[in-house]
Structures are given as C-alpha cells and as structure tokens.
Amino acid sequence: MGALVETLRYVISYRGTEGHWAWLLHRLSGLGIALFLSMHIISIFSVGLGPRVYNFLHEVLYVSAPAKVLEVFLIFGVLFHAANGMRIIVIDFFPGLGKYQRTIVRIELLVVILVFIPAAIITLQGVL
C-alpha cells in the first residue's frame, strides 16, 4: 500500500510532458467509463424486468438532476478517452509522428473542448 501511495505521489509531482497528463487523464477516464458501463449494462438488463423497473431506473440514473451533472463528467471522459485513444493508435502505428506529440496533444485537447462545451450545455439545459 505504501508503494502505491509513493507511486501516485510520483505521478502527481512529476513535471512530465503533455503526454504524461494525457496518459493520467486517459487512465482515469477509462476507469470511470468502465464503472459507468457496468452500471449501464445493469440498467439495460432491467429491460428484461419489465417497464416499471426499467423506467424507474432510467429516471434515477439518467434523467435526474444529479445524474445530469455526473453525465457532464462522463461526456468529457468519453470525448477525451476517444480522442486520446485515436492519438495513441496513430502514434503506435506511425512511431515517427511521436516527435510532434506535444502539438498533437494540444490540438486534441482543443478539439475535445470544442465538442464538449456545446454537449455540456445541451445536457445541462433541463437542469439549469
């Protein structure tokens, strides 16, 4: 456990490149999405349990105000994870592009934010 804490301290305190923070965010968003996905599958499973259970779960998990706020995080996570995943794939298969990685991360982040802002506004419309 001490080793894990030390490792996390290293991760947070190292002044790495854009790639370092992109990696950290990729991992965190990935774990978050995996958690959401598990829940998502359960809620879909509830389709088999008939309309009352499903509609109730749907209301709580996706439509309620707290769910909407969490969804904003999810949207950012998914957008970033997808865009960053594409970056990783491209660099993996064209290793020579690595020398532009700092620029690529910046562009990627810009695209993510540009898509995220309208998406977040649309999502939060009902809540605000």
């Binding site: 999405i33 995996a34 598990s38 599958i41 997808a82």
Partner: protein
C-alpha cells in the same frame, strides 16, 4: 534484423497474451470510436435521453430494423465490456503486485465481467419484459 536460433537465458520472454491484448485494445478502440459516436449521437440528439422509455426500446428491438439494432447493441456490449475490463486488468497489474491480491482482484473482475456479459446478452436476446 536477422534470424538466429540462439536463446539467451533471461527472466524476460515468458509466453503471454499481452501482444494480443495490446493489439485488441487498439482495434476495439477503433471500432468503438465509430459505434459509440453513432450511439451517442442517436441517443442524445435523435431520441434524447429524457424521452427514452421502455416502450421506445421495445419498439426499436422489435421494429423493422430490429436485427440491425440488436447487432449494434451486442457489438457495443462485447467491445465495450472487454475493452473496458481489459483496461481495468492493466491497472490492476500495474499497481497491485501482491500475488494473492492481484489474483483475487482479477478473479473478481472476470466474474463481474462475465455476469454483466450474460446479463446484457439476456436483455438483448431474451426480449423486453420476458425475465419477469
């Protein structure tokens, strides 16, 4: 690059699946990039989450394009779950070195993953409301 039959003794080089796993993450990632984009756009822009009800799902799966929808949802289920849980497995391997804990956590992960896979498949193929 050349070829030799020489074998150097080192603790590295044990047979494993990581190469397949690495490649799978990239391929499944690419596939999901497409279907998740479609899924999100459709659910959030066309249907809108607030309007999504039990009936809506029933109509979609039993409608004229039911098979296509079911295929798409199955693909999402399989790729999403395997990609996601493989990522969790990587994280466990990265940070949990105690052999026992590592094994326990991964076993737990595989069990939960299997249950979810079955649950998801049941929901899609057995039919809405039929599990009651």
């Amino acid at each position: 690059m050349g070829i030799s039959t020489f074998r150097w003794k080192t603790k590295y080089g044990q047979p494993n699946w990581e190469r397949i796993s690495w490649l799978y993450m990239r391929l499944s990632g690419l596939v999901m990039f497409l279907i998740v984009t479609f899924h999100l756009l459709y659910m959030h822009m066309v249907v809108r989450v607030e309007n999504l009800t039990f009936q809506n799902i029933v109509d979609r799966w039993n409608g004229p394009y039911g098979l296509a929808w079911k295929t798409l949802d199955t693909a999402l289920l399989i790729f999403g779950l395997t990609h996601g849980y493989n990522g969790v497995r990587w994280s466990i391997d990265d940070y949990v070195h105690h052999r026992g804990w590592n094994l326990v956590l991964k076993m737990l992960l595989y069990i939960v993953g299997s249950i979810l896979m079955i649950a998801g498949a049941l929901a899609i193929f057995v039919g809405p409301g039929s599990l009651v």
